[in-house]
Subunit: 207 residues, 2 copies
DNA sequence: ACTTTAAGTTAGGAGCTCTCACTTTGACAA
DNA sequence: TTGTCAAAGTGAGAGCTCCTAACTTAAAGT
């Protein structure tokens, strides 16, 4: 029983009348479609087709389209944070290497999941207002602030730490947008991202 | 005759059966609505209501919704470029002040017209593909590259100039996104944008 | 086994994009 | 000045979307 349920849960499409875990199935369908067609271009109808249910089914699990997108975006934020945390593994605390690792992972996420990244940060009105999403973003930024503080030899997040962290975030954030778009990234010519990030960390943490 | 026509041209709404300059009227309506409701949330139907014409009228002037948005975005790119160029007025060539002026103006545009800014750079699939829009973006970036070259004492756009210019662009671009969003900007704490930009120019143009 | 209820369904309203066939009217030539 | 034509409007409607309402299925607990 429990086993059969688990197998069902992981499936995108349903088998019988009931899906097993339609909520998760729709979130996964949403993720796939947002990557495929972009944050605009996504439709609930498409997600229903992909999950193999009728177009009315989602409304048993989500209030509306926006809530469905927010649920997917939230999982994206968590992946984003977890990957950033994982990238710190084995790098000495207080060294610039930790800053560049975070930046690198931030940008890698934007490159690997451009649809989700743009959805989360590109200014889609619906998602901007969700408090859980905002809180998740703040949590991730807090990680950055902690690392900046350590690099600057501060034990607390001072105003200067916050200022530097915000500048670093802005930089990496902007690079993510530029690099996730082929029409923009080629304007940068031939460059090595790791080199740029190292250069950045040196310049921004100096003094 | 010519005068009456000009008066009509500047009007958003039509007076008689014919509008006078519906194309321009729709572009202006589109701009207003994109600011009001965000790039998503915009509908051709709304623009028609605002311009006072039937919902079939736009298709005499634009192939589809996308082309209408692109036309509006194009004017936004031109405003963006013109304002950046104007901001250089009276600042000595080859000084970092010209870089900070460009950056400041870039961000100001994002703050003054967040809807248009996000539409142009937030990764809306339809617009990304338009070659005229891409070319306009490249033209604006070329201005930045020229200033960076002058600051670094180069007479040409070398690979290093391009790299630094791209980094500066990335930074200002990211800050624009963060500052245009109240939920992000407050994470930066209390800070003075001019001070940050000066700091940035010093750090990024050093060496 | 029976009941309850969560989770599906079909049907349909309202709004959107866009097309088609039609109407209006300004511009230009005779 | 008048007649014609083409540009620029119109209403009607097809096909899509999101979402609701009322109905049906079947899973879970007593």
């Amino acid at each position: 029983m429990k086993n059969a349920e688990k197998i069902k849960s992981s499936a995108l499409r349903k088998s019988g009348y009931h899906h097993g875990d339609l909520r998760a199935g729709l979130i996964e369908a949403t993720r796939q479609l947002v990557e495929e067609k972009g944050p605009d271009g996504f439709s609930v109808t498409d997600a229903c087709r992909l999950a193999g249910v009728s177009t009315a089914a989602p409304y048993k699990h989500f209030k509306d389209k926006s809530e469905m997108i927010v649920a997917m975006a939230m999982q994206g934020m968590e992946r984003h944070r977890d990957m950033m945390l994982a990238s710190l593994e084995g790098i000495a605390v207080g060294t610039p290497g930790r800053i560049t690792a975070l930046g690198r992972q931030y940008i890698d996420f934007a490159l690997n999941e451009p649809g989700v990244f743009r959805l989360n940060f590109g200014g889609f009105t619906d998602c901007l207002d969700d408090p859980a999403l905002v809180a998740a973003g703040e949590g991730t930024f807090a990680i950055v602030l902690g690392e900046v503080a350590a690099c600057l030899g501060e034990s607390q997040v001072t105003e200067e730490v916050r200022r530097r962290g915000f500048m670093l975030w802005g930089f990496v954030h902007g690079l993510s947008f530029l690099m996730a778009d082929p029409k923009h990234v080629r304007l940068g010519g031939e460059f090595d991202l790791d080199h740029i990030l190292d250069d950045l960390a040196v310049r921004m943490l100096a003094n």
